[in-house]
Structures are given as structure tokens and as C-alpha cells.
């Protein structure tokens, strides 16, 4: 149990997927202008990433390794993630319309979110067991959510500030992200 807690802390803080591994930066900058969209995106990512982590692990170890097809990893994973997102969308629409309305537009966007795909690749690369890859997927997704929500909070305040013309919008966003990344560096010695 202790191992899993260490794993979660390392995924959320030390190896934060957005600020230390540089994955999923497009939605990070794209959906962080409002707190609501940031929350929706984080929820959708947590949901899909844990599912995708479990399924890609099973497919890789039970199908691809067994038949010596590792070179097909990329295409297999992306097809799994794309169809998973589609499936989750249809399932939610039927059975949980309230949640579906909340996540709405963010679900299809996740297909091209490299954080999901990247987390699955990390699980394979580090040779985690099934349980470990579920835990790391959750940790990465939670780290994504944490960074995104914090960043959205900062960005809502930046709108009120007087930013020089050349630095506006994405430019100041990136510099802010840099400073946030610097603060996440402080966790480095923790695990």
C-alpha cells in the first residue's frame, strides 16, 4: 500500500505530466481561460486516463507481446483511446445525461490529448504491473487536473492585470506556466 502512495505522490507532484513531462500542453493552454472549462476538462481526463491505462496495459501484455507485434503499439493504442472516448461518450449520453452535459465538448478533445497517450506509453516503458499502471494513470490524471485548475485560477486574475501588448494572451500564459513549473520543482527531492 505504501508503495502505491509513493507512486501517486511522484506522479502528481514530482513528475507532473504537464509541468515536468510536457505532455498535454495544448488543452493546458486552450482550456485554462475559465475555471469551469478547466474543471470539466480535468474530470474528463481523470475518467478516460484511468480507463485507457488499464485497457492499453492489458492489450499490450496480452496481445502485442504474445504475438510479437510491439511495433504496432502506436497504432493500437491510438485506436483504443479513440474508440474508448467514443464509447464513453455514448455510454454517458445514455445513462448519465447530467455528467454528459457537464463534460460535453471535452470528451472528443481527449482523443488528441497527448497526456493520455503519453501516460499509457510511460506505463509500458516503465514495465509497471497492472495495478501499478492503474495507480500511475490516476496519479498523472490527478496531477494534470491539479495543474490545470491552479493555472486557470492564475489566468483568471491575469485578465484583470495590465499586460504589455506584445506579451498578451498565450505569451504571458507560457511565462506563467514556467513560473508554476519552477514551483513544482521544489517537490523534486520528495520521493
Amino acid at each position: 500500500m505504501g508503495d502505491y502512495i509513493v507512486l501517486i505522490i511522484s506522479c502528481v507532484f514530482v513528475n507532473n505530466i504537464l509541468l515536468a513531462q510536457f505532455l498535454g500542453n495544448c488543452p493546458f493552454l486552450g482550456t485554462s481561460k475559465k475555471m469551469e472549462t478547466a474543471l470539466g476538462m480535468s474530470m474528463a481526463v481523470i475518467f478516460v486516463m484511468v480507463l485507457a491505462g488499464g485497457i492499453t496495459w492489458s492489450v499490450y501484455h496480452m496481445l502485442l507481446v504474445k504475438y510479437n507485434l510491439q511495433y504496432l503499439t502506436t497504432i493500437a493504442f491510438i485506436v483504443i483511446i479513440a474508440s474508448l472516448v467514443q464509447f464513453v461518450e455514448m455510454f454517458l449520453k445514455k445513462s448519465m445525461p447530467a455528467l454528459y452535459a457537464g463534460l460535453g465538448i471535452f470528451l472528443p478533445l481527449i482523443t488528441t490529448n497527448c497526456a493520455v497517450f503519453g501516460a499509457c506509453l510511460i506505463n509500458i516503458g516503465e514495465e509497471y504491473t497492472f495495478m501499478q499502471s492503474l495507480v500511475t494513470s490516476f496519479g498523472f490524471a490527478a496531477g494534470f487536473g491539479l495543474a490545470l485548475i491552479l493555472f486557470a485560477g492564475v489566468r483568471e486574475k491575469i485578465i484583470l492585470a495590465r499586460v504589455p501588448k506584445a506579451l498578451q494572451d498565450t505569451s504571458i500564459g507560457l511565462i506563467t506556466a514556467g513560473i508554476m513549473s519552477l514551483s513544482f520543482f521544489a517537490f523534486k527531492g520528495m520521493v
Binding site: A20, F22, Y71, T74, G173, I175, A177, G178
Partner: protein, 200 residues
């Protein structure tokens, strides 16, 4: 839409240069640019995928049903990414290891999918090829510039390709480590964007 072939090509170099004007595909931009060499390698790999997928998407645009087009585009892109992966593993293994996860991640690079959706699925093959080449070269230049900048200040050296490395500062230069680490990537890109905005 009466743009000439040359215009379709050159728009990728300044007007719509990917990571700056189209804020897409940021992950490899930030992740691999710890040296100029990595930036160029990543840029070229992406360019190859971009051109090939643009050509194929534009050829198949009449056949692919609109409802499932995104899935079809992704599979076309994934095919070319696997080609790049296999070729790089065979010929430039060192670079392949350096770029690591970011090579398979070209699949989910929004630039490639974005061009397939916004350009190649509406234009003919020659134009799509020019568009892919232009955007690809623009992306490579941007990655090389960012990689070069971070490497010069962060390590005091400049590696262009393979073993072609130059030491630019005297031995007494204390490397500014911040630049090659994660926060430096964000700040550097932000400042480059700011400088580009100044020129408009």
C-alpha cells in the same frame, strides 16, 4: 482561395508558423528542445509525417465518409508515424533514444491532425503537399531556434547534427541550468512569442 502554390508554401514560414501563430503541437516543442540537434530531428520527423498524411488525406478525401473522418485521419497518421519510428530506429538510433516518447506522440500532435482537417481534406494533392512542406519547415525552424537558444545558454554549446558540436563560451562560463530544464522551456517559448508579436 486563389492563392498560388508558392503562397501556400511560404505561409507556413511566417504567417502561420506552427508553434507561434497556430498555438498547436506544443508538447514536442517544449519537450525535446534541450538541444538544437533534437529540435531539428523532431522537426524533420514531423515534417515527413505531415507531408505524407496531407497527400494521402487529400487523395482519399472523396472516399472517407465525413462522419468517421477524424478516426480515418488518425489511422493514416499513425501508419506514417510507425514508418518514421522504424526508420529512425534503424538509421539514427541515438536520436531515436533522445527523442524517446515524443516520436510515437507525433500521432496526437494537433498540427498534423489540424492540417489534415483544415487543409488537406479540402484541397488537391499538390496544394496539400506544399502546405505540409511549408508548415513542416516552419515547425522545424521554430524547434531549431528554440533548441539552439536553450542549448547555448543552458549548456554553452551548440550541436547542429550528429557530432557537429561547437563550444561557444570559454570554459569559465557557468551554464545557466534553468534554460535546459522544464521551466526554462515555458519561459523561453513565451519570450520568443513576445518578440514575434513585437514585429507585427
Amino acid at each position: 482561395m486563389a492563392k498560388s502554390l508558392a503562397q501556400e508554401f511560404t505561409k507556413g514560414l511566417w504567417e502561420e508558423i506552427p508553434p507561434f501563430r497556430l498555438v498547436l503541437g506544443l508538447c514536442p516543442v517544449l519537450g525535446v528542445t534541450t538541444s538544437m540537434k533534437n529540435g531539428i530531428g523532431m522537426g524533420l520527423a514531423t515534417t515527413f509525417v505531415l507531408i505524407c498524411s496531407n497527400i494521402l488525406v487529400s487523395l482519399l478525401k472523396g472516399i472517407i465518409p465525413t462522419k468517421v473522418r477524424i478516426a480515418c485521419f488518425i489511422i493514416i497518421i499513425a501508419t506514417f508515424v510507425i514508418v518514421v519510428e522504424q526508420v529512425m530506429q534503424a538509421y539514427v538510433y541515438g536520436l531515436f533514444i533522445d527523442l524517446g516518447m515524443f516520436i510515437p506522440l507525433i500521432v496526437v500532435n494537433c498540427i498534423v491532425l489540424g492540417r489534415a482537417e483544415a487543409f488537406a481534406s479540402k484541397n488537391n494533392v499538390i496544394y496539400s503537399m506544399a502546405d505540409g512542406l511549408g508548415i513542416g519547415i516552419g515547425f522545424t525552424l521554430a524547434l531549431a531556434a528554440l533548441g539552439g537558444l536553450r542549448e547555448i545558454f543552458g549548456k554553452g554549446t551548440l550541436t547542429v547534427w550528429g557530432d557537429m558540436a561547437y563550444t561557444l563560451f570559454p570554459a569559465s562560463y557557468e551554464p545557466f541550468n534553468f534554460m535546459v530544464q522544464a521551466p526554462g522551456a515555458f519561459v523561453c517559448l513565451g519570450l520568443m512569442l513576445c518578440i514575434m508579436n513585437l514585429f507585427d
